[in-house]
Amino acid sequence: MDGGLYVYGVVRAGESMPPPRAGIEGRPVSVIERPPLAALVSDAPAGPVKASRKNLMAHSDVLQGVVPERTVLPMRFGVVMPDEDAVSDELLRGHEEELVAQLDTFEGLVELDLKIVCPEDVLMRAIVAERPDIAELSMELRGRSPDATYYERIQLGELVAQATAGKRDELAKLVVGRLEPLSLRTDIGDPTHEEMLLNVAFLVERARVEAFDDAVRSLEGELAPGMQLKYVGPLPPYRFVEMGEEAAWA
């Protein structure tokens, strides 16, 4: 208790809740209501919350437990407030207007995330196939001493990096072009590792999730061999929640 309360997310008060899953550090999750809003919380450990695998997954799991049935505004990992009054007064009452507006915005909507990953050798082959200049430069450099070709290798690598960026843009255009009509908003994020070519989130009406699934499957058939799709959801609108800029802390 002296650790304060860890906050997972904000929902509307008074709606029935699925039985909460265990939260960070295995602590039980409960609901603090201050109509029209409610917050999902659990006791926080003393000191900073460790961003361990277990805790990160627990934060995600608690919200995933709610999202099939409720609209929930997700908090970022690691928000700890001193006590129930702080959650009730400062968060739920202090930001009531914005939070209600956000809940209205996302009512009936879910986030679906799509990533495209491609092993490096597959990508390199695709690039070389399309770029004779890169193939040619590569052939020229082979069999020559690394020291003598240092700057040419940098130049080659730079061309490959540009071509990779080009691929990312092409894919983004293809995928977003295809799926955007089925979604309300699109968020293109940075790749989270080098073999990721696309990291995009869509805000989709619950009723259209199945249609979206079909569109994703048909898109998959058009990807170059070796490219893998990772498709996750429904998620809370992590990548779309945004509070007004007038929300200065009082």
């Binding site: 961003a51 997700p74 407030m81 290798r153 092409e170 080098e194």
Partner: protein
């Protein structure tokens, strides 16, 4: 819990929950609502993964590695069928959206907000979790070298008319 659905061609399944640590990190460590005053998180064992994940590296090291990767290919086997559909327009050039800081913030803020509140990560015990996380990291993490450029965060939200 094999909820991650990877592609068997034409049959991708939607995974109901994010399953890998990397996916969860991407979602909850710098996205979602946050109240500045109340973020209290220790990122021991996580920093490298997340920081590196945010950087599209453009450095001499990376270029040399790419060159090496291309030079390893047997160019006599290159297969044209691997071309991607021909498309022109650059989609990702949207500028990073800048926001002023309010106390309650949304998804578009930088991860540095989280790091700045990480004031005592030195005294954490290196428990089992850290070792697990070690294995989860992408195989090839690259730090930027001194002459590297950090790319701007290319993220934007578009609203359908």
């Amino acid at each position: 819990m094999s909820s991650t659905a990877l592609a068997t061609r034409g049959g991708v399944q939607r995974a109901p929950n994010p399953s890998g640590l990397a996916d969860v990190l991407d979602l909850i460590l710098d996205k979602g609502l946050v109240i500045d005053l109340y973020v209290r998180v220790s990122l021991v064992g996580i920093e490298l993964l997340t920081i590196d994940a945010r950087i599209v590296v453009a450095s001499v090291d990376t270029y040399l590695r790419f060159a090496e990767a291309v030079n390893r290919l047997d160019l006599t086997e290159v297969d044209d069928s691997q071309n991607l559909p021909e498309l022109i327009e650059d989609l990702q050039q949207g500028g990073a959206k800048k926001k002023t800081k309010g106390a309650l913030q949304g998804a578009k803020d930088s991860i540095s907000d989280v790091f700045s509140s990480d004031d005592d990560d030195e005294d954490q015990d290196g428990g089992e979790d850290e070792r697990e996380e070690e294995e989860e990291r992408p195989r090839r993490r690259r730090r930027t070298s001194s002459n590297g450029n950090r790319s701007s965060r290319r993220r934007r939200t578009r609203e359908r008319d």
